[in-house]
Amino acid sequence: MSAEDRLSRALAAPAAPAKDMHFTLQVMRQAEAARFKAETGRRLLRGAALAALAVAALLPLGGWAAENADTALDLGLAVGGVAAVLSVLRGLRRGAPARAR
C-alpha cells in the first residue's frame, strides 16, 4: 500500500467514540449550572439596584426629618403605636385557635 493510501486511511479513521450519553448529560449539567449562575448574578444585580433606589428615595426623607424633628418624632411614635396594636391583634388571632382546642 502506498504512503498516500496509508495517510488517507489514517486520516479518515474515526477519532471520536460512538455517541456517548454520558457526554450529553455532562454538557446539559454544565449548561444548567451556567444558566443558574447567570440567573443568580442577574437577581443579585436587580436586588442591588432596588436597594440603591430605596436609599435614594429615603435620603430626602432624612433631610426633612432633621429639619422637623418634633413632627418626625410624633409621626414615628404614631407609626410605632399602630404597628404595636397591629402585632398584638395578630398575636391574639393566632392564639385563638390554640385556646379553642
Binding site: A3, E4, R6, L7, S8, R9, A10, L11, A12, A13, P14, A15, A16, P17, A18, K19, D20, M21, F23, T24, Q26, V27, M28, Q30, A31, E32, A34, R35, A38
Partner: protein, 178 residues
Amino acid sequence: MTGDDEARLLADARRGDARAFSRLVDANQQAVRGFLRRFAGHWADADDLAQEAFVTAWAKLSRFEGRSSFRSWVCGVGYRIARDARRSHARAGARDFSWLEEHDDVEAGAPLEDRLAVARAMAALPDDQRAAVALCLSEGFSHAEAAAILDMPLGTVKSHVTRGRERLLKMLESEDER
C-alpha cells in the same frame, strides 16, 4: 438528522427547550469531539473543550444566524476555545494518543502504527494548518465550511490543506525509512 429536524430542534432550543438542545448535542458530538481530538491532541482536554463548546453554544444560541450548519458553528466555537486555551496554557506540551487505541484496526480502517504516526505528524503542524487538515481530510467538511469555521479566506484553507497533507506525507515516509 435532516435539515428540517435540525431547524425544528434549533427553534425549540432557542425558546429554552433543554431537551431539544440535548438532542442537538447528541447528534453532533461525534464531529465536534473528533475534530477537537485531532486539533488538541490530548483526548481528555479535547472532550472538556467540546463540552465547553456546547455549553457556550447553548448560552449564545440566539446569536446563531443559521448561515452554516449547527455542527459547523459549534466546531468554530470549539476551535476558538481550543486555540485560546492552547495559547494561554500551552496545552500542547502534554500529548496523549491513547484514544487512538479505542478502535481496532479493522474498525478504524487503518493500522494503529499508521494512525499513531499521523497523529504525531499532525501535532507538529502549525495550529491553522492542523485545524484545516482535521476538518477537511478527517471530519469530511468542505473547504468552504472549513473556511467559515476557521474564519479564514477559502484560498488560505485550501493551501493549508494541501501543504499540511504534503507535510504529513513526508513525515510518514521518513518514519518508514527509520
